[in-house]
Every structure is written in C-alpha cells, then in structure tokens.
Symmetry: C2
Subunit: 177 residues, 2 copies
DNA sequence: CGGAACATGTAAAGTGTTACATGATTCA
DNA sequence: TGAATCATGTAACACTTTACATGTTCCG
C-alpha cells in the first residue's frame, strides 16, 4: 500500500527516547521493527534528511575514530508533536497482508494434491525457526519485569508475534497430519 | 516488497478454472483474494494485456447487451505451465506484514498510558467486524462438504483467516481487560 | 592487513495507489 | 430517467527494492 508516509513516524518514534544515526535505524528495522514494518537504508537516509529540513528532527555530527562523521539525529519539540498526533489518531486500516504462501494454497483445489504436504512442511519449518528467534529475543529483552513495564508496547507486540507464530504452526500441523 | 511480479500468477491462478474479464478479476480481489493479496484495476488491466502479449492467456470478445465489448480472458497451455512452475517453487519468504496498529503500540512505552485501552478497543471492534464477514463467507461458500473438497485451498485459507482473527481478538481482549 | 561491519548516500527500476477519463447496462 | 454498477483504460504520483557507489573502523 502506498501509505501516507508512515515511515516518517517510525523514524520519529525510534528517536523519541534516544538519539540514533541512520545506520542505527537501519539496524532497528532488521530486528524488532521489522516484525511489522520494513524499510531499507535507501529510504531511511533521504527520509531523515527531509525530517531534518522540516525541523521535526535535528542532528549533531559525531566523529567516530579518526574522521568518520556520524550523523546522530534527535527529535525536536515539533517532531514530538507530530508523532503524538499520529499516535492518537485512529487506525481504521487493517494490516496489509500479502502472503505468497496463502496465495499458492488458494490455487490448490484438490485435497489430495501431492504438493500440499510439501508446501505445508516448508512453512512449518520456516515458522518454527521464526518462533525460536522471537522467543530468544523476548527472553533477552524482557527476562526481568522492569524492562517489560518500561517498554510495554514493545513487549506487547513481541508477545503478539510469538502467539501468532504458535497458532500458525498449530494450524499448519493440524492440516499437515 | 517489490515482488517478482506475483500479480501475474494471481491472474493466471484465477483463470485456471474459468474464463474471466478484467472486471471479474477486480471483483475477486475485493473478496476472497483480498485476504492475502491486493490489486486495483489500474494494475489488473495492464497486466492482463501483458500476459496476453506473452501468450500466457488469450481472450475472446463477448458482446454484452447492445454493444458493450467485454474482454473475457482464458489461460493458455503456456500460461498453465508458468502457473505450475510458480506453484511448485519454494516459498521461502514470510509474508509481508505492515501493521500500523502494532507500530503505534510499539511506541507506547508506558503500561498505564490512557491511550492504550482506546487503541485496543478500536482494534477489537475492527477485527470483530472482519471476523463476522469471514464467517459469513465461509458459511455461504462451504456449507456443504462437497464445495470444501473441490476448492480445498480456498477453504484452507478462509479457515486460516477465521482462526487468525479469533486469536487476534482473544489477544486484544486479554490485554484490554 | 584483510574481512566484516560500520556508515552514508544516489540511481534506476519495479510495484502500488489515487485520480483522471469515458462509456454501457441494469433496475427501480 | 437517473443512480448504481458494469466495464476498460491511462496518467501522475508515491512507495519499495535492488543496484551502484564510496569510504572508515574494528578486530583478529
């Protein structure tokens, strides 16, 4: 879906509590955020520039090592306002869900098609791996109750992802056996 | 994600069992297919044209009423081959999941933020409505066992969507109360 | 000292949405 | 006869990915 530039709010949200470089943000997309939003560095860097120009974020140059100039961004008052407006706005759209596996499944009409178990098995393997990774992340991030309370939303979405994967695997197994 | 033109396979898949016009296909996206893939008519018509040029589908002109020319497409042998190659190919990518609600949730750090129950309630309502629609569709399409066996993949994905919504609602309720 | 990771950008091509455009048919 | 739906298309814009491009730092 071509959104109303949701990426900008992701960047603002990530900068809400800490200063980050474009590279740090790119890393965030590869981990937690990647669970429900994706973006490459080729989108991130230009968007940070735009947000900077619109004064929603500001930056300071940090020298790493001998001469490497890191641009470390932080949110401005204006940016914080913009973020909050988005946060309190309704979210009437259901998630965008494009699922190539379900698409293929849809086109298998025969209950006894020999490809069905192969397809299911592949997905079971994929989702088991994913579940393991998610659980590992939860254990590292939220082993103690305190982190959970200070990053409640993060805990919630990770918890959701884990339950989703568990249910998905159960469903796949149910139709596989 | 910029896919490797998955849309073409959706069109081929839909044309596998019956001849359809671009408009028919557009309608299919608004119903069943829309659950796991989306496309507008502005993508569909040009893609049908391309598939026709590549001889993966063919068309016949049908006059509706007095002079309305409908283009009714059907799959060719070549198209069927292409579809089958796609169907048996691995599906190593997990689904694309962009979820604005989870994104917002992620940025709510305080467990007692007053916005949390409002956000959850909105989602509960949305997903309950969706669940109702899905169940209605299942009841209409698969009330009898026969349809289920002749359109097994379709039944599977609808069943999955229903279970997914039920679990989602349970999860939302669990954190709402 | 070499490879992996850090760090930042732009360009080109592909995908997707919204808007523009037009006309026919059906049904009340 | 007018409104909703059927029916087909293009244009402009927005978003996303992949490729191109370059240089630094860290660590073994």
């Amino acid at each position: 879906m071509a959104q109303k530039n949701i990426l900008q709010y992701v960047l603002l949200g990530l900068l809400k509590n800490e200063s980050l470089s474009g590279y740090d943000i790119k890393k965030a997309f590869e981990k937690d955020i990647g669970e429900f939003w994706q973006a490459n560095h080729s989108q991130i860097y230009p968007q940070l520039k735009k947000l900077n120009e619109r004064a929603l974020i500001d930056k300071k140059i940090v020298i790493a090592g001998e001469k490497l100039e890191k641009k470390v961004y932080f949110i401005t008052h204006k940016g914080l306002q913009s973020l909050n407006e988005w946060l309190i706005s309704p979210t009437p759209e259901l998630s965008i869900n494009k699922n190539e596996f379900h698409l293929k499944l849809y086109f298998v009409s025969d209950k006894d098609d020999s490809i069905l178990p192969i397809m299911l098995q592949e997905q079971i393997h994929l989702h088991k791996t994913k579940l393991m990774n998610l659980k590992e992340r939860r254990d590292i991030l939220f082993e103690n109750q305190k982190n959970r309370e200070n990053n409640y939303g993060h805990y919630l979405v990770l918890d959701y992802a884990i339950q989703r994967e568990e249910h998905h695997i159960a469903w796949l197994n149910h139709h596989y056996h």
